[in-house]
Symmetry: C2
């Protein structure tokens, strides 16, 4: 994905919004090199990841290339680099370590609609040493809420579940083997596409051979969505009141209840989060709370921010136990989808004012006006070569620049400048000394009105 400037500006605004909110919650920035040692990247990969890795060789290495894989490869996510970073700098970091990382990652996928070989991931994680209280799990929905509220891309819902709760529930239905649980979940995932009857037939049929009653309970379980905070708590209570409730389920319920209470204390409105027992995420990785976030008006986009709690970040790189919780936003894909859905606004330029040039002699004066505007914090472009005024207005309008500033002989003599506001379609005069200040006020008003 390569963008023209107006779209790049919109993309950059999303990046800024994410970063600002990550920092608002006390997360610290980390950047890691794009290349990692191949042996580090491929430590925990299955075959699928390995096929998607981009290997890197300098010309010299290429010439000497022998057997085996190249020494270096491009990161394919931010989790493996985080694990390597934390293990490498373990004794220099304060735990719990709260980091955010917003960088591009690379996957050698075939290019296709909506799939990118290079895309931004925006991640936060809290990493504990030896242990990490479940309380930290409550911060993730608060960050998600802050980020997407400010993005103003429509109402969203943070769907939450807990892997212990799931495991306990499925064990109570006689499905104790994690791999079998995964297979059942994969079938359940087809509910929307294939319908309930198809899924019920498959699960009671030859392959799974589950009792009809168990399947009915499973389908009821995964369809559950809480409608309010009180409803969520009531649904959790109902699960442990059941005679079949085992310890894993009780543990999961207790965790999720604590997390929900703290999410509320953090001020997330209760219509922005819900229980959803069908959310599983990576089954081999997450061990507690799991999150997905969906846009209410665009369910087809799928999850726009996901994550969860994991038991040990970096077992391949250190003997220390490093439990953590984190979320990830795949911004490139999200931007592409939001643009497709018409939710992205690309109207405003980063350039806020343009100083028009009436004639060649006026350049020194135009540069002085621009200097004052810039010193006052206004992003300003100057027309460096005289053109017809109509052309200059046309340029500013197309470029999304709001203010055009003009100073002809008459204005100059009176110590004022004329300002055309292309957004409000009006023109006014202002004293030269007050120009930057008054444009700042106008821009600030627009910012507040638009809720940015």
């Amino acid at each position: 994905m390569e963008l023209l400037p107006p779209e790049q500006i919109a993309f950059q605004r999303l990046l800024d919004t994410i970063r600002r909110n990550f920092e608002r919650f006390g997360f610290l920035p980390v950047e890691t090199p794009v290349m990692e040692l191949s042996e580090v990247l491929l430590t925990k990969s299955g075959g699928e990841t390995e096929r998607q890795v981009y290997f890197v060789q300098s010309t010299g290495a290429l010439e000497k290339a022998g057997e085996g894989l190249p020494e270096l490869a491009l990161r394919f996510d931010l989790t493996v680099p985080l694990a390597r970073y934390v293990a490498e700098h373990e004794h220099e970091l304060a735990f719990p370590f709260r980091r955010y990382q917003m960088q591009r990652v690379y996957r050698g996928e075939r290019a296709q609609r909506g799939r990118f070989r290079e895309f931004y991931q925006c991640d936060i994680d809290v990493i504990g040493k030896d242990s990490l209280s479940v309380r930290f799990d409550a911060e993730m929905p608060a960050v998600i809420h802050a980020v997407f509220s400010e993005m103003a891309i429509g109402k969203f819902t943070i769907q939450m579940n807990n892997r212990k709760l799931m495991r306990g529930f499925f064990e109570a239905q006689g499905i104790a083997d994690p791999e079998r649980q995964a297979l059942v979940l994969r079938e359940v995932d087809k509910l929307d596409k294939r319908g309930e009857d198809h899924v019920r037939e498959t699960l009671t049929g030859e392959g799974f051979a589950l009792p009809a009653e168990a399947v009915a309970r499973i389908l009821e379980f995964v369809k559950a969505r809480s409608s309010s905070h009180a409803d969520a708590i009531a649904r959790l209570d109902a699960l442990v009141d059941d005679a079949s409730a085992n310890q894993a389920l009780r543990d999961g319920v207790a965790e999720l209840r604590e997390v929900l209470e703290l999410v509320r204390a953090l001020g997330v409105p209760e219509d922005h989060y819900a229980l959803n027992f069908s959310i599983a995420r990576g089954l081999d990785y997450y061990t507690g709370t799991v999150y997905e976030t969906t846009l209410d008006a665009y369910p087809q986009i799928g999850s726009i921010c996901s994550g969860g709690r994991y038991e040990n970040l970096a077992s391949h790189y250190t003997k220390s136990k490093l439990p953590g919780v984190g979320i990830s936003i795949g911004l490139t894909r999200l931007f592409w989808q939001l643009r497709d859905a018409g939710v992205i606004d690309v109207a405003d330029s980063t350039v806020q004012a343009m100083v028009a040039l009436m004639d060649a002699d006026g350049l020194t004066d135009a540069l002085d006006i621009a200097r004052r505007l810039r010193a006052g914090g206004i992003n300003t472009e100057v027309q460096m070569e005289p053109r017809k005024l109509g052309k200059q207005f046309q340029y500013a309008s197309r470029a999304g620049i709001r203010f055009v500033v003009m100073a002809g002989e008459d204005e100059k003599a009176r110590g004022v400048v004329a300002v055309k506001d292309l957004k409000r379609e009006m023109q006014f005069e202002v004293a030269r000394e007050e120009l930057a200040g008054s444009l700042k006020v106008e821009l600030e008003q627009a910012r507040v009105l638009e809720g940015r």
Copy 2:
């Protein structure tokens, strides 16, 4: 280079400062993919660049690897991607096209002190179609001045020269061949290291066999530094008053004079720019104005921001003539050098406040305080698990967090919170509703005092 969070914060602040000022001058953001087609990247490279390129292959491509170079490679600068971008999107862009680009680039150099295989470049360029007025050359010093003034890394001087002026001068000394000019300049470049006598002997000696008088004039020429705006203009006048002045020299002087006058009109203080006739930059690329920027207190760091005017950006990718002018900051190397010189301040965290936790029961209340702080624009971390208060202070202090907020039973009953200001080493109480507002005022005061 991989940084720990306090240094990453300092690095990010430099990136933000650069971006803010690039945008202040009306430059638009562009990002390009890290990979370009090898044939695009290597079009204009000499052997040196080619040896430094990193080639990229997915696992699939690696298996099929045949003869010849891999199809993809990592960008080694931002100029080639800009040329490809402008040529590709020529009909969608408005000219003069003003873009900034701040991304990492990759060179397969041997790892050594101060040399990086992955580093940030921060570039601006103005690209014209068919022609581009020399007036745009004057904006570059204004941007350089704005960026480095705000960085507050000490007094700097923007050194300026003009390639036409140089060519004219050397032709007048009987050195018309550009390659011979380059060889002479390379010798002249050794003035600081080897001394004037050595250089004079070399140039009058066997290899060059230049007349002693020409060598004397060359040495006087390249040692020239203007001491003020008026002095710079006077030195330019003196060059054209000379009987030997040819057309190229006159053209260069006229350009440089216009640029200097506009640089002054843009408000760059005259002690921040100077003529320096020894500045050459890439001889095969730049054709007019050239710039280098040096820190007055750290000449050994060399140029921290360089660039110039070029005749045609993208002759390999389009038939259109695209003249331009631009500058580049190699931020990774600069950061590394400034850190070495002790100029980088890594004291302050992005986290501005920490809510202490007095006991486990106080968490809901602590989260509510944090919510208010964040809503008021204060970057806030909460202690999620009770620890000894001394430990919590120690953590905040080490982390560079300025405010620690406490609400015990007593404060809670009175509707206030206690705030410890670790920077000013004082403690005060404030009404819970006014907390965010009063910290905002304190932070704003510090920002103004520190001139940020």
